[in-house]
Subunit: 531 residues, 2 copies
Amino acid sequence: MDMLWSGWGDPARATPLPGTVVGLLRDLLGVEPCDTAPVTLDGIAVPASPLGPAALRALAGAVSGEAHVRTDAEARIRHTRGKSTPDLLRIREGDVDDVPAAVVLPAGHDEVVAVLRTCAEHGLAVVPFGGGTSVVGGLAPERRRPFVALDLRRMDALLALDPVSRTATLQPGLRAPRAEELVAGHGFTLGHFPQSYEWATIGGFAAARSSGQASAGYGRFDDMVLGLTLATPEGTLDAGRAPRSAAGPDLRQLVLGSEGAFGVITSVTVRLRPVPRTRIYEGWRFPSFEAGATALRRLAQDGPRPTVLRLSDETETLVGLARPDAIGAPDGRPDAGCLAIAGYEGTEEDTAHRRERAAAVLRACGGTYAGQEPGEHWAHGRYAAPYLRDALLDAGAFAETLETAAFWSRVPGLYAAVREALTTTLTEAGTPPLVMCHISHVYENGASLYFTVVSARGDDPVARWASAKRAAADAILAAGGTISHHHGVGTDHRDGYVREAGPLGVEALRAVKRRLDPEGLLNPGVLLPLD
Amino acid sequence: MDMLWSGWGDPARATPLPGTVVGLLRDLLGVEPCDTAPVTLDGIAVPASPLGPAALRALAGAVSGEAHVRTDAEARIRHTRGKSTPDLLRIREGDVDDVPAAVVLPAGHDEVVAVLRTCAEHGLAVVPFGGGTSVVGGLAPERRRPFVALDLRRMDALLALDPVSRTATLQPGLRAPRAEELVAGHGFTLGHFPQSYEWATIGGFAAARSSGQASAGYGRFDDMVLGLTLATPEGTLDAGRAPRSAAGPDLRQLVLGSEGAFGVITSVTVRLRPVPRTRIYEGWRFPSFEAGATALRRLAQDGPRPTVLRLSDETETLVGLARPDAIGAPDGRPDAGCLAIAGYEGTEEDTAHRRERAAAVLRACGGTYAGQEPGEHWAHGRYAAPYLRDALLDAGAFAETLETAAFWSRVPGLYAAVREALTTTLTEAGTPPLVMCHISHVYENGASLYFTVVSARGDDPVARWASAKRAAADAILAAGGTISHHHGVGTDHRDGYVREAGPLGVEALRAVKRRLDPEGLLNPGVLLPLD
């Protein structure tokens, strides 16, 4: 099934906001119903593809058939940009400035190589396209030349599974649920469940260093990758002969996070875990975000480590966003404090042992057990927040997220600085926001912070958010955070990324890019600035 | 204290082989006492330093004083090559073909930068020198131009310690015991205890992706690194603003394992753990290497994970090398089977719980508890094996090690192939060897194999070992292993590394090197082949 072209997910699952929430938004943030309806798919005027017959013939040859080269308006609109709020606002207005010249669907590694060769011959840029769920402008390259969206959906096979080593080799176009299904047939799970789980792909997880909601237990996607194959205009790079090695820099870690700028990931070998026999998610309440963060830190540093561990701040808890299917409902009371969710997956014995010992730590840090109901609520709504964003946009609100990570000692300062930057910028622009935050990924040495911002839509929300985002990026870098913990760089974070990596870091990566992609075909301007 | 110039460690700790072992070596391997005595330090004819007064003055200026630029014979001999057996055999014969032109001792990052600039101006290569413990030719660059050994021993400070985030920033010249002492003052440990522990340095651990004997519990050194600073001829690169990030490829993982070829690591931020309150090491016996390996795999995959976990094969167990201070002694009996050592470090509660549950797994896999005596023996002798090698060389034997790693399903084939390659090559060359092996590092998805080879010295042992090493490298690559699990690449493994990384992998890294070190000053020919 294709995703909603103008929003998130399965159109059948879209649900309008409850009237109570609409009222709340109006009273709190001055949100007024939107008076202009979004355009329809048919109503968008897409310019004709700039590709001539020779290029189209060559592309069709590369992917064994013209059925796999699409230039129709719908296919091209569906591959225009990703799913950030600015992306949605623009596509809802029919803005297709970033439309690809064609959508090309290769069936395997060799066809990807052939497409790259063809694009080099015809001066076309190439944008690898997995689930299309980028929220950082990763699918909208600089527009110096036409580009082809390389949709990897036909590359959706489980290539190999080694039950002894507990590894699976997967093609990049596999959506996460299908990948889970394939390995579950052998008794395994990847354990990778980001919010984009239902739509995102294995290749995208690797290219953008995705991190799932169960990262406390299963690790991030870049922790799971043991090997990968990269097709580049200069040939193929294979990395990963052993779990770990002292044979030079880790080439896997050079490809992970390269966001299609170095090549197209055509296979990924990942670590597997047994399907857990037990899953328990439960809630804990803390009197403050600080107390809750200390509890999370203690579990991350000294254990036992839950499989899922997250903590909403006071505002997020109050609004109920900790449980996206219950917004504005049960937790909407001032005594709610800060809600944490702790989840345990594994064997019955191990789960029970960890849960019991973690409870003692959470209690010692000032936590109060809130039962399994909030945990079940969270688990039920865990992939629902992007639908909620569509509903908010429909109701005339603006809603968007951003995220960062830092070492533990910097987390309080980072939290304060980003909230302040977002609140000040948006208030001064006339749309005072609600800024909410949670910690959703913990490490021994630090944690992520994930912010959700809701405000009235106001005039020119794309430009206003861009300026709020710049202020947040400045605050993040000044407070010692990273420009992205798991969304990636894309084009939206590129300036901040350049500041974070430093001139020599950027130059080292540009040297790699020039060697693997000398003509700069791949995702021009994504991750790294153009020359 | 300086290491023995012609061998390992503290000269006062050198001990000759017991007479029983000498007899065993003669009977088993035909080892005859060596009839030529090694040269003395004074007896080595070192050519005059090729550096002229201008270069020496400039170098002295870079490190604030001529006291920190040494061109005397002793200093230069002590910085000639590393500590592989071929290195020792050559230096014992007075072969100083790889002698540096000078030894330069910078006091900090800025002085390193100044030395690099000076070397560029004077056409000198630069070899970063930490503990000097490389066993893969990492300190012997291609001899196209004179080189300076950049000894980092003056850079031995704890720069910062963050008890909340549990991180410490260390200078590269800190030897591991001193680093441990500094962080222990704050209640922490690094948990990094490789065999070279007593002599090796923080910078070397990072540059060569060291892995310690307690890696099952504390991880490898490259797991511990959260940040680092690299001084290059083109400027400074800082990496690591958060434990993990989605902001591009991981630049830390590009520097780790770069073996001085990209720049000089001038600080390393590492993860800390609390000093364990309890340490227990114990022995388990398995009827076969296969049964023991299965037990290790089960613990690595399903837990609980000991802090130390290693398994010697039948030959190593028989010879007693599992306990280097007891070689030829208690375990020298045919019923010894395969000895495993399991160690537990942590709080009392955690240690007891893991130990009890691990015992059940080890028993279920056919293991028999052998008490704490073998564990204590192992712990007592854990840094002694390199001294034993010196004693073997003194007694006329040849002894050397090599190591690899692979995914679990490939481990049995890799084990057989490497043993076969070493045995055949050395037997055909007239020096039938004793080949021993242990697994010393386990991961969910694979393990390392560490081989020890002992034979008669025979004629031209350096050339003979080079050909055995080539055969082993071929076997490793054919069986799907990595060319090095924790020794690194250096010059010895460079050809195998090029085959492992593949042409495009090597080209990507050469592109980085050219950008950071355009004149090719840094460790020429180490890690990457020259242009």
